[in-house]
Subunit: 476 residues, 4 copies
């Protein structure tokens, strides 16, 4: 369990002439619901270049009726699931559309630097006061289209204004484009559905549900152009170096998605095995120890840990499915209320046991103190907490709604202090080296900024607010 | 995973004078959402005996705003979550209310025999054409109240008309009653919140969330009467013998609920251990075998099986959380569509492995053939399917929406035939004796009719449609 | 123009077997919209005695879609338009229904005495706290039906509990009844549609729109029973003496309705002629005088006045049609706001003229002072105000929402004082004798209580609040 | 009564710094509801140039709650009431807004020629397929604003593309403009509210309700520029010659509005007097003749006719106020259904009388045949029909939704033939010369095209469909 917040899934489909694109898009958004449950939208394109849109606040299953999906005509479409940062705003539904020119745009990620965009738009009399980063990207592209540029050129021209993390899809005049920032911080996968057409999705699980075969990632700095005749073209807009956000693997992505060629489930299990190496049990024996995941993200790590050590594993913590993941609530207040109804222990399951609780990460420390207290009430003999990633000491600026550094517990407290706050007998984090090793890739292929403060893409004026926590070295 | 359908949770609270009952009720309904997601309602009672109600179609989180809950004044309340059988009908929201006399009534269960109720109501000019069993129970009680009876007497007088399975709560004139049928087929638990008041809930997880301490079950044939002054009284309306529906333990109840003194999670884990005894692996070895649950209900059994045999365990099947449990969709058509988007395998997780899939039960066989096919596509070397309960060969008439006997696959096919239909290498069911043993209780304490056709409460004319399947003996 | 408020129209239809009743009912309610614009409802009856209902807040045109009307199956129906007194309450939509016994009930009028009803209902455990007079009448009838009485007997048994003014329709089990209080204070007309069936409506304009021929009034104290086989029966429940509320003629009824054999338009024109006799012009001459009605109710009187005196007539005051009649707004506050946007003078139309403004009645004096001031601003040389009825000095208790006596301007001020408040040069009321003469009937055939304080039906404890205004004699 | 359909009212207000503009705008739209009841909208402007909008389908009283109006912040606003031609389309609500640049635009009139606009917009990649004429005007202006032009220049640059009838208001960046086509076909009046600010409205009744003093018309071809500092400037964009649509006086405008210095009521009364000259009674005598208007528009003409001839006048035809004017229903089908419930005669009012029915115009002849038949049923001895304007023989292209020429009855039948269709004893139209005389102005100050086929502003390709009816001369 985590309190991280990630915003958005994007997807696109370019079908053959007779394909009805919207139902495919609907499925893809369904499968990627975990990336954003606050709002969802689809923009489809008709043969004459006209767009139709359906957007709404809430879950995919609530926003679209069958009639809504049927009404979205055309063989091409883009779609979006949104999770918004602080103070969800109704007006900011995506895909952003400019109906007048037949244009749709959807963005996953975040731009820490928007001053160039703002200046550019203001020059064209566009009021940026109420626009968020995604809308500004869309309007900058729309400006170029209004001035006569085809979609790919319109994006290429605007691209230098986009400063940060972005994996985007856009649609106009019979063409869909998909493009990523130069560091490829957010994922974006390309696939093909035999006999139907080409598809794009933030995660491979979005491809799978459509019956698509995964082909490759859209590369960092690359724009892929797919037209309604089945043509596909690649433009490397800028040189890119892959710096995938490692939190996609730790927390955001669905376990059945594949990133860098490895299933997310396998990676998380690897982390559990690595934890078993790095933090063997300190209390109890094979009969007394019980390994328990904080559901749902941490299950593979707990399974991996228990297996590696030959210990007993139990899903002793029950999560009320109907609340949704905590982070789905937009305001801080409801997040806390929601938590109160979120977890309970299976009665009797931990009595007299030496408990090893496995969680994926710690942000604000909302959940673990309560779980430790509950475990004690349930009669656990001891509580060990193991975290499948290093301490988060730096805020994120690329699309994860992590709090200010002052709210990050590991940026302000030492590990013993955190252990005290949790009220557990032992607290262990996975080291950064072990985390990277679990990916099977080298460290330079990831954005590790939440752990080490090294930001692969400029974060502008935000930089001045970042300090190096005193407790930095001790985590390793 | 199962395709069984259960209807309804009920709950009640009688608080001290200053208690606002509705928020407690809201929490209890939240925690029991798994028992019915089609509609939900709360009826609260004001000091003068007037009722206020809020009911709606959908999930607890969607039906009630904070303002709705705040508006429900009074220190007493009853509540209900509904899952309705075939063809959900808007008009049948519960609690049923008769606002004119200040009365509310909520029912969990099903009455296979309603002819006495119908005749009685018709005698009082009440049109029964559009009433379901729950509403008829409510109106029969209301008739007695209109004729001057206090609530407990009104129920006691009407009780002989109630033929089937029922765990009910009712409210009128400062009194709440909770009562069960003579066999206690559906559960109903009594608790107390220190300093707040007394509470009733279908499952103990509904008590837990309110911070209540479990006291005891409402007994079969008993009516408990709780008044606003804190008084509590018991009336044994008829002699009762406990015949709890064993499917509450197999499938319906939340793993952290307690039935007959045992956690549901523990029972399910026991079933997995029993399966390990009864059906040891037939293919592969410790390195090649992977034990995989069909999420979510079967997880404890799979954990139990793997542990008992020292085999590797993996959550290799991913369920899209946002679809909800299949049975939550009221029409058969959407059930199938929903399934298509329901499960996927973690890529690479089962390649070259001898798979042991654990599921809790088989009704129509909607899911397993597809999972077996997916497993093969994913490269599994062999697929064993083990079911944590015996073959379901008889329909249910006590509140589970199981299909007609003709649709129950085990009533029509032999086990080898079912194995053929699934397309797996081995299929094993848990024997009835082992199932009962896993409860730690004797067989006569349960309704086992789905397995053995012995109906502890009369099912009336339905009896004539039941046949004994030829394949009966072979399951044991 | 007036500030009186009347509540409700009722209607019923009993068609032949193949007739779809609801569209007829819809038309009748349309034509009687002026009697109540706050809510409207239809209850139809199916061959098996089951009721279907559609009710809603607002105008007929807004509440019913074509689909709503089509859905209301059955050859019989009753309907209602509501205007409610002080503080419109959503819950009190009519027809009141008791779906459980297949019963509908609609009431036009008001019961000043409800204590017998309340006591009776309480004896049957019915909570009367939130019931209005109409609902109590309905529930008292429903009680008898539940106890086995057919509809006509159920009403006859309850009739002694009904104390006040009521013209009602009811439906149950293939029978419609229409009945009136012993004084026949509110109108209720009976008609027949050739080849279709029998109909009932508050006003004859409701019959006309359905293509029905007027047959007769339902008599005071009479109940007419119409069954689905075309049978019609009359029961004189109590002896009756007709005391029609004269305000039906002065203000409420549509000009094309017929009451006591005379068109309402003709009556109002007669009042204008009588005013011409009683109050000849006091200022100006044939060239300078302009007769202007306060639209809409006063138009016939103004036309009659001008014609009788050979003076010029002009619709110089424009009313914004889209506001609706003032009294349609339920709260006092919005009534005043609405007025601000209600009237304007045709520019130039009254400059230099001696204006004779004709209005039908004065209640609180909300409008005339403003019109007189506007007339002066527009350059009128003098303003005479003539009222087509006597001063209203006593409150009404029979279904007109007139204010307390303390708010009735003529109960508190002399005529010269009222003239001063209006700010006009002359103020004349029509005498009671002349008003009655304009009806062509004798005074004892009317409820004249607003003018003379003689209440033909008991008003219970309200009596003690009524005083005889000192200015009483001077009006004659 | 008429079956003409006019689209739209516009209004604007520029208040001083502290003024809340929206409530004023709301009042103005209320007063001009008769010009369009299908949709309404307000766009207000905040100090920073940001716009807020509220638009909706329906009447002013239904679309805006008090909260809606309060929410519309800012001291400036424009507003619009819409009546749309054939097939009302939800998407086309006005004011059109381009929120991104803070721009609003509202149009009253119609452009028969849009090809230049379409070509221009297409050149800027704007999809015109789904845009109506008003939206194209708005987008052409917005294009110029995006390219850096201030609002007045943006309009002036786009003005040559606007070909037809238009009276418009626009808002951007602290400036409101109001402008008219070169012929001034639709009215547009300028006023000032002492101490509040400047206002614009289609009709003077819109100024009156705000408490504004009328100053002058916006001139044909002129643009008036009002800024938030109280400045006002006039630009004569093109030379203009006033050709006010005479149907504004005959039918559309409210009787209390002033056009060319004369009240619309006075003009209509003049028409009645002219009819008295041109068509004296042909049947009956002073005692038998009754002059009756077809409500509401024809009332002044009927009053004028009766007065001029010393005949009796009566409002004998009752119109159900709650239906609204016929033309408010967007589809032809509902128009006919509505009619069935629209009119009735006061019973007895016309029996034995020689009836003179006065109507303002005849388009399709939907109403009069039915009224003549009703009059006969009511016992009228004879029926004379007099029309307060000449035969309509040519379609309109400037904002009135008149049917194709083939549907105009006077373009296809001779007057005797029309009389036969009505079924009356005499039919007389007012001559064009007398109509013009009633205005007190010369014929060249009006658009008379519906009568004489002379179109003051080019109608483009529509021209080819117009033929000269054979019956043309005989009308004079």
């Amino acid at each position: 369990l985590s309190e991280l917040q990630e915003k958005c899934a994007v997807a696109a489909i370019v079908g053959n002439e007779d394909v009805h694109a919207a139902p495919y898009m609907h499925d893809a958004l369904y499968a990627m619901q975990h990336r954003g449950a606050e709002a969802t939208g689809i923009v489809s394109m008709q043969p004459d270049g006209g767009t139709m849109a359906h957007r709404g606040e809430g879950l995919v299953r609530d926003v679209y009726t069958e009639a809504d999906v049927q009404r979205l005509a055309g063989s091409m479409a883009i779609g979006h699931n949104r999770y918004s940062t602080a103070g969800s705003k109704k007006g900011h539904s995506q895909p952003m559309i400019d109906e007048v020119i037949g244009f749709g745009f959807a963005h996953n990620g975040n731009l820490p630097v928007t001053q160039f965009l703002e200046t550019h738009l203001a020059k064209h009399n566009i009021r940026t006061q109420n626009l968020n980063d995604s809308e500004m990207m869309g309007h900058a592209t729309a400006l170029n289209i209004r001035n006569g540029q085809p979609l790919p050129d319109a994006i290429e021209l605007a691209y230098p204004l986009f400063r940060g993390a972005f994996s985007c899809v856009a649609i106009h005049d019979g063409v869909v484009t998909a493009f990523r920032d130069r560091a490829g911080i957010r994922p974006l996968a390309l696939g093909v559905i035999e006999g139907v057409g080409r598809v794009v999705a933030s995660e491979t699980c979005g491809l799978d549900i459509m019956g698509a075969t995964y082909e490759r990632e859209v590369n960092p700095g690359e724009m892929v152009i797919i037209d309604s005749n089945g043509g596909i073209e690649s433009r490397q807009i800028v040189e890119g170096t892959s710096k995938l956000d490692i939190f996609e693997m730790i927390y955001f992505a669905r376990p059945d998605s594949i990133l860098y060629g490895m299933s997310v489930n396998q990676f998380r299990r690897n982390c559990g095995q690595a934890l078993a190496e790095q933090h063997p049990p300190t209390v109890g024996d094979a009969d007394s120890i019980l390994v328990v995941p904080v559901p749902d993200t941490s299950i593979p790590a707990a399974v991996g840990y228990a297996r590696a050590r030959g210990l007993e594993y139990e899903n002793a913590i029950i999560k009320n499915r109907y609340i949704g993941r905590t982070f789905m609530e937009p305001t801080d207040d409801s997040r806390k209320t929601g938590l109160r109804r979120k977890h309970s222990f299976v009665p009797g399951s931990v009595r007299g046991r030496d408990l090893i609780l496995i969680d994926d990460s710690i942000v604000r420390l909302n959940t673990l103190p309560r779980l430790a207290a509950l475990a004690e009430m349930e009669g656990a003999r001891s509580v060990t907490v193991l975290i499948g990633s290093p301490p988060i000491r730096f805020p994120d600026f690329y699309g994860i709604d992590t709090p200010r550094q002052s709210e990050l517990v590991a940026a302000n407290l030492t590990i013993p202090e955190i252990r005290g706050k949790i009220g557990c007998d032992y607290l262990g984090y996975l080291s950064l080296a072990n985390l990277v090793a679990a990916t099977g890739r080298s460290a330079d292929m990831f954005n590790l900024s939440p752990f080490n403060g090294v930001y692969p893409v400029g974060i502008g004026h935000n930089k001045q607010d970042i300090v190096t926590p005193v407790s930095m070295e001790e985590a390793e």
